[in-house]
């Protein structure tokens, strides 16, 4: 995974509430079994709307979204497609839980802020200003004073280092898992003896 420390650039504003992952990545494109190059399908059914802020060729790494962004389906194609368009940071008042988790695992930082703070960042986005998101100091700098944000420690560290979750668990916790399994075989043997 690509490491992240600081992201700076213009932002896209997409204020609609409840943008679900079906809108982000329509289901008919889920027949594709690749994970790269999916940006061309992002928001496929909204692109014809002249007011829709996303374009295929983007050079804006920050997205200021509306409430409950990424709700619905767990499809990881949603962050893959958005990431393919160059987005590295998404700012909103709330996110679909699975989507936010999928973002973290793909080098995209979802930042949850209070409505007034989102509004302030959105104003800068709509004015075309450069916005800087710093994961080290956990601040967003746009117009005015820097806005502090919080992010879970483990996910922040993973993003800062670009770690692979799977190989890291195997390297650091292999023995813990083996010990857990031995204990579960004693406590719940039916989970181990049954034909599954």
């Amino acid at each position: 995974m690509k490491a992240m420390t600081q992201v700076s650039g213009q932002a896209i504003s997409l204020p609609d509430a409840d943008i679900d992952t079906d809108i982000i990545y329509p289901a008919r494109f889920l027949l594709i079994t690749e994970k790269k190059g999916l940006g061309r399908y992002a928001f496929a059914d909204r692109r014809d709307d002249p007011g829709f802020p996303f374009r295929v060729q983007e050079d804006r790494p920050i997205l200021v979204a509306g409430p409950n962004f990424g709700c619905g389906s767990s499809r990881e194609q949603a962050p893959w497609a958005i990431g393919d368009l160059g987005v590295r940071v998404i700012i909103a008042t709330s996110f679909g839980d699975i989507f936010a988790n999928n973002c973290f695992r793909n080098g995209i930082l979802p930042i949850q802020l209070a409505p007034a703070d989102v509004q302030a960042v959105r104003a800068s986005a709509e004015a075309g200003k450069i916005i800087t998101v710093d994961l080290v100091s956990r601040t967003i700098t746009a117009a005015g004073a820097p806005i502090a944000f919080s992010v879970p420690d483990d996910q922040r560290e993973t993003l800062l280092n670009g770690w692979n979750d799977t190989t890291r668990i195997l390297a650091l916790h292999g023995e813990d898992v083996t010990a857990f399994e031995a204990a579960q075989q004693r406590a719940a043997p039916w989970l181990w003896t049954t034909r599954i």
């Binding site: 609609d16 509430a17 409840d18 679900d20 079906d22 809108i23 329509p26 289901a27 008919r28 889920l30 027949l31 594709i32 079994t33 690749e34 994970k35 059914d45 409430p67 409950n68 709700c71 619905g72 389906s73 767990s74 499809r75 990881e76 962050p79 709330s94 996110f95 679909g96 839980d97 699975i98 988790n101 999928n102 695992r105 793909n106 879970p152 420690d153 483990d154 692979n164 979750d165 799977t166 190989t167 668990i169 195997l170 916790h173 813990d176 898992v177 857990f180 399994e181 579960q184 406590a187 719940a188 043997p189 039916w190 989970l191 003896t193 049954t194 034909r195 599954i196």
Partner: protein
């Protein structure tokens, strides 16, 4: 120390702790063709194997055709995707339930009917409706494709513990009202993100009275309120449903398991972070009118006025002040992981009563699994549906996700038992009204949205 069901499930699966996260042991993983190609690819890239292949079970459901399944799959992309799942499973030693076999079906239907889903376990799947399995008192939640890969390679996932929310349904449901109406009432009450960050436990007389099928419907829709996990405490009904299922424990192991499962329900004095009480007796049939499952009204209502609803209502072609009852439909869909089980088909068939699908309406019945289909055929439900003009299909996700050729044209209006009324969910520009199986059957016959209680009266 007193604990909730969720806390007991959580505590029993913590491998190790770091800050506010726990490395959670994953007992079971269900795989389907759409969310796993990239998971397997990641395993290959990292040179990894599946730690316990015997805890994984795969089936194709999302992109499968629901008609003409004897020959090759017509859509080359779908055929390739399904073949890839089969190859990946063979390579990594995972059991795959063949498309032509008698056990194929939607992941969230086959897990329980195989006895793969059990109380007290953790279960994941690359699908947000994995919350369904919580109906058995399992900690089950949807994950993305990369987490599927991590779960396969390590049998664990890093997770944050959720806050707890108990939703108590008091009293008894009225005739013509079902678990789907309970789910839509809850979602309408808290909103589409109202339960984000919570693990929801459903309790109360009306939940205890539900069949396992009804409890699955309720837990299935939990994600539509933002929560990844929905739970119902296991009880005698849970055990009766599972006993003798192909993959459930047998003999002494069964007795031992049931004894342990009896200790799972929430302790009487346990505290929840949040409580909601809903009067089940006051629930009437629910119908969605917008493009989010929380945009829902009771059948007797007129549509609300709210600036925030202007866009979804424009998409849906409905208007403030208009009654939802009487709205003409041209499609009806009975099926999905929400409402594709035998009880759902029985409830829909019971409404038909010699009637026929209205002229100009196309109606599909898609059983949730081959076993559901076989049971329905034993009961003669297929004949009831076909005689009434419904199409009787093969199992799959079908019009709930519209990845196969079951897709609606732009502007079509569908009464649907599925779980999402999102824009384009059933086809680009198509309009979806979510409701119960009985309500969909009644709408198909009438050609418009009607109150099923009047039909049954």
């Amino acid at each position: 120390m007193v604990r909730t069901l969720y806390e007991k499930l959580w505590d029993a699966h913590v491998v190790t702790q770091a800050g506010d996260k726990a490395l959670l042991y994953i007992d079971r993983h269900l795989l389907h063709e759409v969310s796993t190609p990239q998971s397997f690819e990641a395993l290959r890239e990292d040179g990894l194997t599946v730690r316990r292949p015997e805890t994984q079970l795969a089936v194709a459901d999302h992109s499968v055709p629901t008609h003409d399944r004897d020959g090759a799959i017509a859509d080359p992309q779908a055929a390739a995707q399904i073949a890839l799942l089969e190859r990946n499973c063979a390579q990594f030693g995972i059991e795959y339930l063949a498309l032509a076999g008698e056990d194929q079906g939607i992941v969230h239907v086959i897990g329980p009917e195989q006895g793969f889903t059990l109380p007290g376990i953790t279960l994941v799947c690359g699908d947000s409706h994995t919350s369904t399995h919580g109906a058995f008192g399992a900690l089950a939640f949807g994950v993305g494709a990369s987490e599927c890969g991590t779960a396969m390679a390590t049998q664990t996932l890093w997770q944050a513990r959720a806050k707890t929310l108990r939703v108590t349904f008091t009293g008894a449901l009225q005739p013509g009202v079902s678990a789907k109406d309970m789910a839509l009432t809850f979602i309408g009450t808290v909103g589409a993100s109202g339960a984000t960050g919570y693990a929801v436990e459903y309790a109360g007389d009306a939940v205890e009275a539900l069949s396992m099928e009804g409890r699955m419907t309720l837990c299935n829709m939990t994600i539509e309120a933002g929560a990844r996990t929905g739970l119902v405490a296991p009880d005698a009904k849970t055990f009766a449903y599972l006993k003798g299922r192909p993959r459930a424990p047998q003999g002494d192991a069964w007795e031992q398991a049931v004894a342990a499962w009896r200790a799972l329900p929430t302790d009487p004095d346990a505290r929840f972070d949040r409580e909601i009480v809903i009067d089940a007796a006051a629930i009437t049939p629910q119908v969605t009118f917008g493009t989010s499952p929380d945009q829902v009204v009771p059948i007797g209502a007129t549509l609300p006025s709210d600036d925030k609803l202007a866009k979804p209502m424009r998409y849906m072609g409905v208007h403030t002040g208009e009654a939802i009852e009487g709205l003409a439909i041209d499609h009806a869909f009975i099926g999905s992981c929400t409402n594709g089980r035998i009880e759902d088909l029985r409830a829909a068939a019971a409404v038909i009563r010699g009637g026929h699908v209205a002229s100009g309406v196309r109606a599909l019945v898609v059983p949730g699994s081959m076993r559901v289909k076989a049971q329905a055929e034993v009961e003669g439900l297929d004949e009831v549906f076909e005689k009434a003009g419904f199409e009787w299909r093969e199992p799959g996700c079908s019009l709930c996700v519209a990845m196969n050729d079951d897709r609606l044209p732009a502007g079509a209006r569908c009464a649907s038992t599925s779980n999402r009324n999102f824009e384009g969910r059933q086809g680009v520009g198509a309009r979806t009204h979510l409701m119960s199986p009985a309500m969909v059957a009644a709408a198909a016959i009438a050609g418009r949205i009607v109150d099923v209680r009047k039909v049954l009266a």
